[in-house]
């Protein structure tokens, strides 16, 4: 089938959560045409398209995908393995977009990975899948089996010189495995602790070999970029950044959920129109725009376009693009405590600030929330924020964990003081 019509929802066009398309159905709807198109081109040409498209990694950091790939050294020894990994260890509080995509359209992940594998000359791929995603595991495995039978995975794919096989690795389940170097250690069977960079995984990653780790959603963008070009992709964005994005909202809104929208859609549209606004009887107090490890924003920021630079400019992060809403009836300190405890629990234990700083913060927050706080605890919390700030820790886990706390201390100062002065939680 020849597809000439570019889709308006390139990420979710094939999405079917009840019964995802099998290989033939996916192919009928234009599946694997993007890969075929890529295979006809040199890897340099595909890389140039991805670079031109301005696709940015959807894992949270927003690093340009093409640039990341370009750091992989050129092949000098074809017998040396090179690895491609899909980071499907989605554990960010509030994020469930990757699960949605993988359960609804498993073949599109494989197609995206095939394009990436062709571009960076990878010959082995892994989907590092969160342990709890059992439905996704089943559906992906089915899709992989279909592809193997159809010659889309394995040696001499579609008669070309390309060899690429794909494996699912179900993770033992740690938040830190979302950090790409910790993920690589876990894949090697080691403790999931991050590695220092440099060397970057592109140069020395899995088993010391060149490795690219990309987020699941990033791969979903690839087939249509190759098929319809960088310019088309750029034109999809509503603001600065290119393409579309899966946005989500959770919390006390009328319709929590996920939507594929143009990159740069405003927060107001996402929360008020797509999620239907706050549930009856609740007011919007604040929200985390990009998941549990992003700074709170306030209603006054609602007109900010949800893209990487715009959200940074108002003091938070785009992150995973999955918004967590805080209403006026829930205790903000309790929410921060919940998040910080989660991150303290998920610390890998490697570096001191994260390992010891987060539990201290969690302890202080629980003292405050439970009516045993002291005013000096607030200074102590500020110090812990300094301890775990970006650059001071080994990886980005603790600085991320600190974001809701640091913005919380700023935006909810009155609530903190109330808790301490009244020696109880006013929300209970």
């Amino acid at each position: 089938m020849n597809v000439t019509q570019a889709p308006s929802l390139p990420l979710t066009q094939h999405l079917n959560l009840q019964q995802p398309l099998d290989l033939s159905a996916y192919r009928e709807q234009g599946g694997y045409l993007g890969f075929s198109a890529a295979l006809e081109q040199s890897s340099d040409a595909v890389l140039q398209i991805i670079k031109d498209s301005n696709l940015r990694g959807r894992g949270g950091a927003g690093f340009p995908t093409g640039m990341k790939w370009s750091f992989v050294p050129t092949v000098t020894d074809s017998s040396e393995p090179r690895y491609l990994v899909a980071n499907a260890d989605e554990m960010e509080p509030g994020a469930f977009k990757d699960r949605w995509l993988m359960e609804g359209a498993p073949h599109q992940l494989i197609e995206g990975m095939l394009i990436a594998a062709h571009t960076i000359a990878a010959n082995v791929g892994y989907i590092f899948l969160r342990n709890e995603y059992t439905i996704a595991a089943k559906r992906l495995q089915q899709a992989i089996d279909e592809c193997r039978s159809a010659g889309l995975l394995g040696n001499n794919i579609q008669g070309s010189a390309m060899n690429f096989d794909l494996h699912i690795h179900t993770s033992a389940g740690r938040y830190i495995c979302g950090e790409e170097t910790a993920l690589i250690n876990a894949l090697e069977g080691k403790r999931a602790i991050p590695r220092a960079k440099p060397p970057f995984p592109q140069v020395a990653g899995l088993w010391g070999k060149p490795t690219i780790v990309n987020n699941v959603e990033t791969f979903y963008n690839l087939p249509n970029i190759v098929l319809f070009g960088a310019q088309w992709y750029q034109s999809l964005g509503a603001h600065e950044d290119a393409g579309t994005k899966i946005y989500g909202v959770s919390g006390r809104v009328k319709h929590p959920g996920l939507w594929e929208l143009p990159m740069g859609t405003s927060l107001r549209e996402i929360i008020e129109q797509r999620a239907g606004g706050m549930s009856d009887g609740y007011q919007l107090r604040a929200y985390q725009p990009g998941g549990g490890s992003t700074d709170f924003l306030l209603p006054e920021h609602l007109d900010t376009p949800m893209d990487y630079n715009s959200i940074s400019a108002v003091g938070s992060r785009m992150g995973t693009g999955t918004v967590i809403v805080l209403d006026d009836k829930n205790c903000p300190i309790d929410m921060i405590l919940n998040l910080v405890s989660f991150f303290a629990q998920e610390s890998c234990g490697w570096c001191t600030p994260c390992r010891e700083g987060l539990p201290s913060a969690s302890y202080l927050l629980s003292e405050i929330e439970n009516g045993r706080g002291k005013m000096s605890d607030l200074d102590y919390l500020e110090d812990i924020l300094q301890l775990v700030s970006f650059g001071n820790t080994f990886c980005a886990l603790a600085p991320g964990a600190a974001e809701p706390l640091q913005s919380g201390l700023k935006f909810f100062q009155r609530e903190f003081e109330q808790h301490i002065q009244q020696q109880c939680c006013p929300y209970k």
């Binding site: 060397p199 998920e346 302890y363 300094q386």
Partner: protein
């Protein structure tokens, strides 16, 4: 040299290092936990944070970890900036939220790196009021205490234990602030190098259990720079004493030998000095009254000289575990013609072969060079058991290929975790030729466990490949797995390497031909590549020193011969136990015919029990002495404390108080290579002294007040510049002699080493590295080994089907004499057994655990009756499939005791258990 700026001052620093190393060399105070000079950087503790500025305009700077930052020209840093200081304080504060603050009851306190770093960081206020995490401790064996609550999760223990020493049974478990460092379940630590955990751990999680048994604070210890006596490596140590008890041994850094680490025999084998069976008084046997009488020292000396009055039938035996001076004094006293070594003829010959090799072909190589090697061939030596520290160095050498690979992508050697990730399974080649599995098998790229005859064939083949014209390589078609194929693979690795090493050893019961062939191989390799090295362990701490003094004919075999001929009337035994070299019954008979037996020893050994005159000598810790290690490095060991009661160094019994310096001077005239010996003992100006005791020593005047209230004057040591008191020059970078302990203001733990070094892996300032006796080989001359024809191993003498080639299996905790007196060591020594492979057992109709009797067959084919009674001789059979067919392994000591000269064979027979039982009845 890069020029960097720290807090406004410009410094020249060594290129290729990281900023923490640079700061240490500049003596700038920067705290750290996870970094260790031998384990390098991983950046986990975040304690060495400094501020790094982007350029001259940058005023804010950003926090960076010094240990992870390579120094480069033009960089600007600040240690003192308040932002960096505050971060380091906060980091320590966070660290301490899990720490129990139990310093008063912690054995680490007073020499605790955590205490020191806390002070340096400036953290003083404990704000955290929450509950602390707690852990369960584990029993880790007789050497090490475990107190996990004190852990600060620096990860150094697992990095040392697993990545450095190759252990597998210590690991990190769980995560977050609940990480646990221990074993999967309680049990004895498996590594022979576990004791280093005590020094690697920056706080009191792993502490020395043997020290706990007679614990004293560090500041109350008296120490000296000494040399370990438990094998031939001669690791440098600090013995530490208080009140006449040797309390512990810690590592003394030597850049070319032990570096930062000791083996467990060296660290924990010291308690023989305090043993209940130590000699304290001179005793004389009175045969007429059937009594033993205690003598005064003068009486003992008189008695001694009267015994020596008649030199006609005099025979004296020197000691491989005694100092050069003691042996020399005995030799001078009795005359060289009456002086014999305690080495068998076979060992003595090998030792002389080795000396000749060092002198004529190639000077020896040290462990630092071994660690830098890129290919090692290990022949017939289970070095983990015989000279353990060498094995630890081989483990480091394995990593070089990975370090080189990392360098190609710009990752520095000190970036430990990154190098490991890049290295993965890549190893510099280690080839092992042996007759059974060794503890280094896990890192070897090829292992040939075969019969000595096949080993010899393989080595000879390698020799011919090495000396062959390399162009002929291509045409030979070689069958896979044949000896030729294996020889070629090994040769190629040795030829490809820039610094190939041959590692072997000399031990009792080994195949002589094999050893000679190894020397020959080493010589051939050296002629092709002057960077090639040889490491050859020898049996005991001063085996080579004794060989240096003695002619090869004056050996233990000739002693036994003379005893058998009944031509010995007076026998002087210096610090050796003849019962270790001869079956008990035979030795009893031989000694029964000697009229006067004089034993000088610091332990009541079985030989000492036979003495007519027993003179209590001093242990290594109680005397000055020189030792020659495996590489012919002459090192001096400084007396730590004054021996009690009548104990005195053997040389003082032998020379009636000749000043030590005269002995040294006379000794230096014995051989050209010893001429520099006095430089090791040069006494500085009269007012220069180093203190053996710390300035903080408490209770100096009170220690003996329960005996006498008066202040006892400290002993004056006329033989050295070390004082038995707190008086003396504080040890520091300006010191012109080796410090008696490592301690510097603000640096109370062993980490204070950096305050004594100019560079991170450099020597301790003032410490003498020892004299390499053959620093320059002639290289154009040949030695015995090379001229020896490529011999083949002799066939078994007779009845070849039932005879097996007897070879020793060694064990770190079983074989060495002095440590075998130590209860903790003994606990880990394995039960003796006879070992063969399953196929062999099947052929002989034997099964595992069956009790076996055995008898030896000598080279001439005659069966040697087992001299021990059948009951004690019977040993259980254990099956080990790594053992080559045709070979039977016996405990090394047992084989040595069999006193069979040359190659020997063994006949095995099952003991009829029914007959046994009836005998019992």
């Amino acid at each position: 040299m890069p020029e960097i700026n720290i807090d406004g001052k410009t410094y020249q620093v060594a290129a290729g290092k990281n900023l923490l190393q640079a700061c240490q060399e500049l003596k700038l105070q920067l705290p750290y936990f996870c970094w260790h000079p031998a384990l390098d950087s991983v950046g986990s503790c975040r304690q060495c944070a400094v501020l790094m500025f982007q350029n001259d305009e940058d005023t804010r700077g950003r926090i960076t970890m010094a240990c992870m930052t390579a120094v480069a020209d033009g960089q600007r840093f600040s240690i003192e900036a308040s932002k960096a200081q505050k971060f380091r304080q906060l980091c320590i504060e966070a660290t301490m939220t899990g720490h129990p603050h139990d310093c008063p009851v912690c054995e680490e306190a007073g020499e605790c790196h955590l205490q020191d770093m806390t002070l340096i960081s400036g953290h003083i206020e404990r704000r955290f009021q929450g509950p602390k995490r707690t852990h369960k401790n584990q029993y880790l064996g007789p050497f090490i205490n475990h107190e996990m609550n004190r852990c600060i999760a620096c990860y150094r223990c697992v990095r040392y234990y697993r990545d450095y020493s190759g252990g597998t049974d210590l690991n990190v478990f769980a995560s977050r602030n609940n990480v646990y460092f221990g074993r999967a379940e309680a049990g004895i630590l498996d590594s022979e190098f576990s004791g280093n955990l005590v020094e690697v751990c920056p706080t009191g999680v792993f502490t020395d259990k043997t020290y706990s048994q007679h614990y004293s604070r560090k500041w109350d210890l008296q120490s000296s720079p000494a040399v370990c006596v438990h094998c031939s490596v001669g690791c440098n140590i600090f013995p530490a004493e208080r009140d006449g008890i040797l309390r512990r041994v810690t590592n003394r850094y030597h850049p070319d030998l032990n570096g930062h680490f000791l083996c467990d025999r060296g660290r924990f084998g010291y308690d023989f000095v305090n043993h209940a069976k130590r000699t304290e008084h001179a005793w004389q046997r009175n045969n007429s009254s059937q009594t033993t009488e205690q003598l005064t020292s003068q009486q003992a000396l008189d008695s001694f000289s009267s015994y020596l009055g008649n030199t006609e039938q005099l025979l004296a035996i020197g000691s491989s575990r005694s100092s050069l001076e003691n042996n020399f004094c005995l030799q001078s006293l009795v005359g060289a013609e009456n002086f014999y070594s305690d080495n068998s003829a076979q060992l003595e010959t090998q030792l002389h072969n080795l000396l000749c090799y060092y002198r004529d072909i190639q000077p020896s190589s040290d462990l630092k060079k071994l660690e830098a090697s890129d290919a090692v061939l290990l022949i017939g030596a289970d070095v983990t058991q015989s000279a353990p520290r060498i094995a630890l160095s081989i483990r480091q050498m394995i990593k070089n290929a990975g370090i080189a690979k990392a360098a190609t992508i710009g990752v520095a050697y000190w970036s430990a975790a990154e190098v490991q990730n890049i290295r993965q399974d890549l190893k510099s080649p280690l080839h092992i030729i042996s007759n059974h599995s060794t503890r280094l098998d896990d890192v070897a790229c090829s292992i040939d466990n075969s019969h000595p005859a096949q080993q010899l064939a393989l080595i000879n083949k390698i020799c011919s490949y090495l000396s062959e014209d390399k162009s002929s390589d291509a045409e030979v078609s070689i069958q896979e797995n044949s000896i030729a194929a294996r020889a070629k693979a090994i040769s190629q690795d040795l030829l490809r390497a820039e610094k190939p090493f041959i590692v072997t050893d000399i031990h009792a019961g080994q195949s002589v031909e094999l050893f000679v062939a190894s020397l020959k191989l080493s010589a051939i390799l050296y002629r092709q590549n002057k960077h090639a090295g040889l490491i050859c362990a020898v049996p005991w701490a001063n085996s080579l020193g004794l060989a240096l003094l003695n002619s090869r004919q004056q050996n233990l075999d000739s002693v036994l011969q003379r005893l058998e001929q009944r031509t010995v009337k007076t026998l002087v035994i210096l610090e050796t136990d003849l019962y270790r070299y001869c079956p008990t019954e035979k030795m009893d008979l031989l000694l029964a015919d000697v009229a006067n037996i004089i034993v000088l020893d610091h332990l009541i050994t079985p030989s000492a029990e036979q003495a007519d005159l027993l003179l209590p000598s001093a242990s290594f810790a109680e005397q000055h002495g020189s030792w020659v290690n495996f590489e012919a490095r002459l090192q001096n060991s400084v007396k730590c404390f004054t021996p009690a009661k009548q104990r005195r160094p053997a040389h003082r019994w032998l020379t009636a108080n000749t000043p030590f310096h005269s002995i040294v001077k006379d000794l230096s005239g014995v051989a050209d290579c010893l001429s520099d010996l006095p430089s090791l003992y040069s006494i500085q100006s009269a007012d220069f002294h180093s203190a053996r005791k710390t300035v903080r020593e408490s209770g100096r005047t009170a220690l003996h007040s329960y005996i006498d209230i008066k202040d006892i004057q400290p002993e004056i040591d006329l033989d050295s510049n070390y004082q038995h008191s707190q008086e003396g020059v504080a040890s520091n970078l300006d010191a012109s002699q080796s410090p008696a302990y490592i301690w510097s203001p603000g640096w109370n733990s062993s980490e204070s080493l950096n305050q004594f070094q100019h560079s991170v892996s450099g020597a301790i300032q003032g410490a003498h590295p020892g004299l390499l006796l053959f620093a320059k080989g002639q290289a154009d001359s040949t030695c015995v080994a090379e001229n020896q024809p490529a011999d083949s191993i002799k066939d078994p003498p007779a009845d070849s089907k039932s005879l097996l080639r007897a070879l020793p299996y060694q064990h770190i905790f079983a074989d060495e004499e002095l440590s075998s007196y130590v209860a903790n060591i003994k606990q880990l020594s394995p039960t003796d057994s006879i070992k063969i492979n399953a196929l062999q057992a099947q052929r002989l109709g034997l099964v595992a655990n069956q009790l076996l009797d055995y008898c030896f067959a000598a080279a001439n084919g005659s069966l040697i009756e087992n001299n021990q009674t059948q009951r004690t001789a019977a040993l259980p059979l254990s099956i080990d499939d790594s053992i080559a067919t045709g070979v039977v392994l016996l405990p090394a000591l047992l084989l040595q005791r069999a006193a069979v000269s040359g190659d020997c064979w063994l006949k095995l027979a099952a003991i009829d258990s029914a007959a046994e039982e009836s005998a019992d009845a």
